[in-house]
């Protein structure tokens, strides 16, 4: 494998890592938002829950920004085609996501119950809707997306908004939401005490149960679904456009990679292990362990999707031969090389100072400190 093909695979893997970090970290914050109204019955309980992620949500959210930036830099054609194709869904995602920072910063500025109640709903919507959309977007990759290209690579999307909300996509959306709720509840368990902790424990167990069922159901569904198979292309590591390949759809083709490399079955297995482990850990009250097992569940789920789709990134249902793969959607060799250099330096650095930030803010959030009016608590 030449340098260019290696870089393409590295960036495909890195994108996977970024998406996993996004799902784990942003998903956790969104999960807290989504379950806030349920686990926190009093204003003080809700403030405790918010302050548990308070020092971190801002940094975590950058995984989302970085995910967008990395797709743009490493797979520009994917960025261009997917984001414009999913226009209405992307808008819903953006609109709900831009409400979230305001929900955190502004909610506790004013004491009026109506004000806080309104922002709690905002946090609920801006937690639940984006996770549903993330999941649904992934679900749609398996179904194929109705788009095609003109000779100069202008892309046209010919589907409707409702077409993106098909049953399989919704299943994937709810799976993502349940994993997010599970992680959010585990994080609340990490920092909370008393009734809040008990309710969060209940959420972990319920959400883990739902996730196990949906992940299994999704697997069976994909088994019967028509998948995409690349039967002719210029090949990896060669500059190319999506107009130079041929692709066919074959029932069950999404499992081809698992057939060729049986070791890959460990990936979905890790997903199940993570979900079951998180359930057990929550029951035993070991929420920190549960959190890491929850992260493993995410890695398993996203890894499974990636392993099944490889090398496809955005299959086209209009003309399967115009599907985007990592070979035809990636940036040039120079850009990938530069970006790999930056990622090699900065991703470990990010992980280091993020861990430091969590370490500094470790421990339980004290309800007493919040009521005493520490000015900067949410």
């Amino acid at each position: 494998m030449g340098l260019y093909a290696t870089l393409q695979v590295i960036w495909w893997l890195l994108l996977g890592v970024l998406l996993m970090c996004l799902a784990v970290m942003v998903g956790m914050d969104m999960g807290v938002g989504a379950i806030l109204r349920y686990v926190g019955r009093t204003d003080l309980e809700r403030r405790v829950a918010l302050n548990i992620i308070g020092p971190h949500w801002e940094g975590n959210q950058v995984w989302f920004v970085l995910g967008g930036g990395a797709i743009f830099a490493a797979f520009p054609l994917l960025y261009a085609t997917a984001f414009s194709g999913f226009y209405v869904v992307m808008l819903l995602l953006l609109w709900t996501m831009i409400m979230r920072p305001l929900g955190f910063e502004y909610r506790s500025q004013i004491e009026r119950p109506a004000w806080r109640n309104a922002w709690d709903w905002v946090l609920f919507v801006s937690g639940a809707v984006p996770m549903l959309i993330f999941g649904a977007a992934f679900g749609n990759l398996f179904r194929g997306v109705p788009f095609h290209f003109q000779w100069d690579l202008t892309s046209f999307y010919t589907g409707s908004f409702l077409g993106l909300l098909n049953p399989f996509a919704l299943l994937a959306g709810v799976l993502a939401l349940s994993l997010a709720a599970m992680m959010g509840a585990l994080m609340v368990m990490n920092g909370a005490e008393g009734a809040l902790l008990q309710r969060a424990r209940g959420v972990v167990q319920a959400a883990a149960g739902v996730a196990i069922v949906l992940f299994a159901a999704g697997g069976l569904w994909v088994h019967a679904m028509p998948g995409y198979r690349l039967i002719g292309s210029p090949g990896p590591g060669l500059p190319q456009t999506p107009l130079e390949q041929s692709v066919v759809t074959v029932p069950g083709a999404w499992l081809t990679n698992f057939g060729a490399y049986p070791l890959l079955w460990l990936v979905p297995l890790a997903g199940f292990a993570g979900m079951v482990g998180a359930w057990l850990a929550a029951r035993a009250g070991r929420s920190h362990l549960g959190w890491w097992l929850g992260a493993l569940a995410w890695i398993g789920v996203i890894g499974t999707a990636g392993a099944a789709l490889f090398p496809f990134m955005l299959p086209s249902s209009t003309d399967p031969s115009m599907s985007l793969t990592l070979w035809n959607a990636s940036s040039s060799k120079d850009t990938l090389l530069w970006m790999a250099g930056f990622a090699a330096v900065f991703v470990p650095l990010i992980m280091w100072y993020t861990s430091w930030a969590f370490w500094v803010m470790r421990g339980k959030v004290s309800a007493e400190k919040i009521t005493r009016g520490d000015e900067h608590a949410y």
Partner: protein, 535 residues
Amino acid sequence: MINGTVVDLSRVQFAATALYHFLFVPLTLGLAFLLAAMETVYVTTGKPIYKQMAQFWGKLFMINFALGVATGLTMEFQFGTNWSFYSGFIGDIFGAPLAIEGLMAFFMESTFVGLMVFGWERLSKGQHLAVTWLVAFAANLSALWILVANSFMQDPAGATFDPFTMRMQLTSFRKLIFSPDAQSKFVHTSIAGYVTAAVFVTGVSAFYLLRKRHIPLAKRSLRMAVLFGVLATIGVITLGDALGFVAGRVQPTKLAAMEGLWKSESAPMPFNLIAFPSQREQKDYDAVQVPDLLSLLVTHSLGGTVLGVDALERRAQRRIEQGIPAVQALHVLARDPTNAAALAQFDAHRRDLGYGFLLQRYAPNLSQATAAQVRAAARDTIPFVAAVFWSFRVMVGLGLLMLAFFVLAALYSLRDVVQNKRWFLRAAVWMIPVPFLANECGWLVAELGRQPWTVFDVLPTWMSASTHSVAYMVFSLIGFLGLYSIFIVIELYLLVRAIRHGPAEPGGSGAPQGGHAPLAGGAVPAAAYGNKAEG
């Protein structure tokens, strides 16, 4: 086929969301360093008032920061959602700085901003100071990468078009980040942020001095902001000059529009102080001119000349004619990448490919393009002169106003008499919107002056947008306008509320000090506490 209405609506949406985002960003860039300055004094002298200052301004910082981040999310994704062809066409270069911004800067800023707010009790003094400095540095580093990306649109350095992948590809990362446009634009914009923050802090402090509340805090904040501001304003004007110099070289059409320069003249050229440019007649009405000044300003010599619209249109016409064979060869190569004749033809004309694209708007079939269509396309290369001309003058005028304001403020503050100059304090409160307006005008000059290109000389705007329906665009535009209007109302309400409430005083939070101070909100008429000096 491409729908002109969709392109226009996409432009309106981008401009609206970018201008809105840019209301919040400059304040973040500057206020972060002012916070660092205040905390530095706190850590070195140990005086608690500086901690109180850092915390109070930090609270205002966070209210502003939240909306900056929120609206920044829109920008990160809008290239893909609304400018799909553009993103595919230059993503190979343009995406890289955006991704590096996230990796190197925005991550650091956002992670440490959480510690800055929540970490006062958990971190040592020195650690917290380091965190504040990192936030300030990272915020500006963020701006650096965004402006490197923006500069590529103004001066596409370090890239070349590849006819086989149908896109621009990176050739030199070094040229990309060290292009003169990137350098001067970053410094100009970052320092404009310093000025914005300085005016903001000065204005709010003046408000407290007028009300005789929080006087020690207000005097110190004002002193620090004013010194910061006077130097920053000098810097912003210097860099504005450098940027104009660069524009003269790489974007002559922008420069001609900024100066309302329809006819090329011989040196030394006069400067239009005031004029009313007419795009249709290509002349300025009621021009008030300063002799020789233009040559001096944009070429830094009395003997220098710049091209007027007439010469630029002639030049564009030649390039359009040269661009036709480039686009035609590209069509052939798209069907048959091995065609050597087409490749040779393309290579001979590749420099003018963008101009060929530009003509396609007027002549979809290039082989039958008429002379009238070529002239129309050449006319199209001139941006909307009146808008660029006036945005530029408003920006420069406000910049000079702020310089005068800060010089006077520095005089008063250094003599420690500013608290007695009530007229000046009132003026300082009214100055608060000025830098924001100047920033928006600066954005307009840079981006309206770039038209009709998204990437200057390379990719015309009319080709760049996504192929959405008008209905989609109306839907998204209404959504953004609605949401953003609600946001700005909430933000201003919270900011004004936090300012009126004031910093937490050690003995009872936010209450006015002393017996003679009025209730917040001005229950006592201003005359009641007269013009006496304090203490």
